[in-house]
C-alpha cells in the first residue's frame, strides 16, 4: 500500500491537530506550512478557544493564505498584532502553550537537530538554524515535532547536534514537558519517560516498516492501532483553511511511501 504526497500531508496535519486541546495557544514559526495548517485545523475543529499566533498576527481570518500575507494585507482580518518580544514573553510565562517543530533529526529522547551534521568547525551539512527550537522545548508546556521523511538518519539513536533538548524543564515552576511526540509520514510516536512509544501507525505503513526506518528502539505493541483517517469534518476543514494545499510542500515528492528501503 502506498500513499500520495497529499495523503501523507493530510494525515500528518490532522494527527498534529488532534493533539491540540481546548485553551491551547499555538505559536507557529517561519516556513513550516504543516505546522500552520495543523494549528488552523485545530482552531476550527476545537470548540473552545484555541488561538494561533503566526507571523506576528493572531487568528487571521481566511486560513493559511491570510496568515502568510504581509501585515498591510491583514488589517481588518486579525484582532491584533503581537510584537515579537511580547510573544517571547508569552512563551516564557506559558501563556503560549504549544509549538509544532520540524527538525532535520529527532532522536530517542526527543532531542531536535535543526543545525548541522558533523562537527561545528567543519560540518558536512549546515541547515539554516534552529531559531527558537532550543527555547520553546524548555519554555512551553509542550512541543510536538513532525518529520515527513521517516528513516533511520532522520530518527537516529542520537542526533548529530542538540539544537533543542527534548527533555524540557523540570524546575519548581513552569514545568515544560519537552518534546512529547513526533508525527512522521509513517506513524505517530509519543515520548514517554524518555522512550519512544508508537501510538499509531499510518494506514499505508506497518509495524516492521516503522521499526526498520527508526534508528532507535521503539516501544511498540503488536496491536498498535492505525492512525484514523481524516474525518469528513477534518477534510472539510483542510479544504477551508488550506485550499491551495501549502501543506504538501513539506512532504518529499516521491512515488509513494509504502515499503521503502531504510537509508
Amino acid at each position: 500500500m502506498t500513499a500520495s504526497r497529499g495523503e501523507i500531508a493530510d494525515l500528518m496535519v490532522v494527527a498534529l491537530a488532534r493533539m491540540v486541546v481546548a485553551g491551547d495557544v499555538v505559536g507557529v514559526g517561519l516556513g513550516t506550512p504543516i505546522a500552520l495548517v495543523a494549528a488552523l485545523v485545530a482552531r476550527h475543529t476545537t470548540q473552545h478557544g484555541v488561538h494561533v499566533l503566526a507571523g506576528g498576527a493572531l487568528d487571521v481570518n481566511g486560513g493559511v493564505e491570510s496568515h502568510l500575507r504581509d501585515p498591510r494585507d491583514q488589517l481588518s482580518l486579525t484582532p491584533g498584532f503581537v510584537p515579537h518580544l511580547d510573544s517571547m514573553d508569552m512563551a516564557e510565562r506559558q501563556a503560549m502553550t504549544l509549538q509544532f517543530l520540524r527538525p532535520a533529526q529527532i532522536d530517542r529522547f526527543g532531542n531536535l537537530n535543526t543545525s548541522r551534521i558533523g562537527v561545528r568547525s567543519a560540518p558536512t551539512a549546515r541547515f539554516s538554524g534552529g531559531l527558537a527550537t532550543a527555547d520553546v522545548t524548555a519554555l512551553l508546556p509542550r512541543v510536538i515535532a513532525y518529520h515527513p521523511d521517516h528513516r533511520p538518519r532522520s530518527l537516529p539513536a542520537q542526533v548529530d547536534w542538540i539544537t533543542g533538548s527534548g527533555r524540557g524543564w523540570a524546575g519548581n515552576t513552569r514545568k515544560a514537558a519537552g518534546t512529547v511526540a513526533v508525527v512522521t509520514d509513517l506513524a505517530v510516536i509519543e515520548f514517554v519517560e524518555r522512550r519512544g512509544r508508537v501510538k499509531s501507525i499510518h494506514p499505508w505503513s506497518n509495524a516492521s516498516t516503522v521499526v526498520e526506518n527508526t534508528g532507535f528502539d521503539l516501544s511498540l505493541s503488536e496491536d498498535a492501532p492505525p492512525t484514523p483517517a481524516p474525518t469528513s469534518d477534518e477534510v472539510e476543514t483542510l479544504d477551508l483553511v488550506d485550499p491551495r494545499r501549502r501543506r504538501d510542500e513539506e512532504v518529499p515528492d516521491r512515488a509513494g511511501r509504502g515499503g521503502k528501503a531504510p537509508s
Binding site: H84, L85, R116, T133, A134, D135, W169, T173
Partner: protein, 264 residues
Amino acid sequence: MKLVDASRAADTVHDGDTVYFGGTVLDRKPMELTRALIRAGRRDLDAVTFAGSLEIELLVAAGSVRSVAAAYVGLGRFGPAPRFVAGVKAGMFDDLEYSEWSLLGRLRAASMGIPFLPTRAGTGSDTLAIHDFASVADPYSGDTYVALPPLQPDITLLHAWRAGPGGHVQIAFPPQHLWDIDVLAARAADRVIVGVDQIVSEEVIASIPEHTRLFGFEVDMVVELPGGSWPTSSPPEHDVDEGAIGAYVSSGGELGTLDFARPS
C-alpha cells in the same frame, strides 16, 4: 544634525568591531551600509544578526568576518545561503549559532541595562553550550537558570523607512513581522547607524508620532539611502526583489547579481 553619507558612516566602524546587522531574513537588511563597510575594507568583524541573509553573503564573500552569530542564516523561501554554508563547511569563520532567545535575551539585557537575564530558554542544548554562559541560582527557589550576559554591539546598522535630521526614526505602519528586533538591537548597542529611504522634516515626523520607533538620542548617524535595503524589502517603498534573489541563487551565488540597483 546627524546626517552623514555612507562612507563617513563606515569610517566610524573599526576592524574587529562587533556589528549587529538589522532586518530579518529578506526584510529591511542594511545592504548598502554593508557594501559601504566592505568598500572601506573592514576586516575581522564579529557579525551578529537575529536572522541573516544576503548581508551575510556579502560579508562572507568579502572575507570581512571572523565570526557570524545568528539564530538563522538563510534566504527564506529561496533556500540556504550558499556562501554562508560553504564558509561554515570550510571553517572560514567561527559559526556562532545562537538560539533565538539566547541572542534576543542578551540584547534585551543590554537594552534594559541589567547585568544578566535569567532564563530557562535553551537549557540542555548544544546550541547553548557553544556560548559557555554562566548559570545562576534563583535565590528564591534554588533552581539553576542560564544567566544571559548583556550583548552590546559596538555598532548596530539598520535600514528603516524614514528619519528626520534629528535622528528620530519611523517604521511604516503596519510594521513588518519582527520589526521590534531592530529597535531592540539599536537600544542594546553602543552606537547606531540607520540608513533610510527618506529624510523628512521634523514636522513630518511629528505628523505621525506613533510611528517613531527610535528617538534621536538613541541614534548616532542617519544616512539617506533610497533603496538601501535592496534586494530585500523596505515597506512601504518596495517589496523583496524576487527576481534579483532568484538570480543570485540560480547563479550559485554570483555577487554581480547583488550590485546595488535602486529599485524602481
